[in-house]
């Protein structure tokens, strides 16, 4: 095992990514190798130095650009919400007129049905005709058409 191998293992050890067996072997080597012990010391300094580097922050302009991003589900939810709103509005505005409209249609149908019924089945008024005969007093002749289509005649005829 070369010093490079050991140092790579020591690097992984500081990350907690080395098995106990590998760690034991590496530290046995480092115990007898000053070069590898020095590397372990500098490794700790490097890791500490990098981890203390500051965070950078994006500009407020980027925050604004991010604020314009829309989620597809959110857009879908907005459309569904708009549809539901329109449906609620439609239902609310149509509730009373719909009832009135239904009552009106029912009344119209009932009236039409009764009219037809009276016209077809109901009693008919007697047919009337006026016969003018010159020289004679006006006589009103009332005739009822019989089943054979003949009419009763005035006895003066």
């Amino acid at each position: 095992m070369t010093c490079d191998d050991v140092q790579e293992r020591l690097s992984a050890f500081t990350d907690g990514e080395l098995s106990d067996t590998e760690a034991a072997e590496s530290f046995r080597h480092a115990g007898t190798c000053r070069h590898c012990r020095d590397f372990l010391g500098s490794l700790v300094r490097v890791r500490s130095g990098v981890s203390r580097l500051p965070l950078f922050h994006p500009s407020p302009a980027l925050d604004e650009r991010i604020a314009f991003i829309r989620l597809p589900e959110e857009a879908g939810a907005t459309k569904a919400s708009a549809r539901a709103g329109l449906q609620r509005l439609w239902t609310r505005s149509m509730r009373v007129p719909a009832a009135a409209l239904a009552a009106g249609v029912a009344l119209f149908l009932l009236t039409t049905a009764l009219t037809l019924w009276f016209w077809i089945v109901g009693p008919k008024p007697p047919a009337q005709e006026v016969v003018y005969v010159f020289g004679l007093p006006q006589v009103e002749v009332v005739s009822t058409t019989g089943a054979d289509g003949e009419s009763e005649r005035n006895p003066h005829d």
């Binding site: 790579e8 690097s11 990350d15 490097v46 500051p54 965070l55 994006p58 597809p72």
Partner: protein, 179 residues
Amino acid sequence: MHSATDEQLVERVQEGEWAAFAEIYRRYRSPLYSFCLRLSGRKETAEDALQETFAKLALRAAEIRSRGALRGWLYQVARNEILMTFRARRRTTELLEDADGEVWDAETPLTLLEAKDGIAHMERSLARLKVEYREVIIMREMEELSYAEIAAVTQSTEAAVKSRLFKARKALAQRLGAH
């Protein structure tokens, strides 16, 4: 006050709750921006990558299903955005090739910062690492991602992560020791 876990926030984003999306942004904006800035060395590139990352989160939150996957997913998307800008600049080949084991990259805008103290010196040294070394050391030291998470983000293996971390740390140790 109890703050929601990443998993809970992701579920709420999947249900279309913008407030949960905003909470994820508030939680990750600075760490992710710092990662993007240190990776790219350019403020505009970092901000564009962050915006694209969150735009993709809004569209593809349903992809994040496993427990604890949000952080890795965000870093992976942000990293890909940065690498795409590198490709656009036709620099990818230079940055990703490591034929002769070279760890250091060319000077970037961040490396031009005045090194007035230890932190600035560390920042400058970190910025000079090649991107594949820089990204693993930032994710490990600053964000404390595990080897498995870093491997998932960088689409490599845990062994490769272990090796790159070692090389990056050794290079930094040598550079810092020399000053």
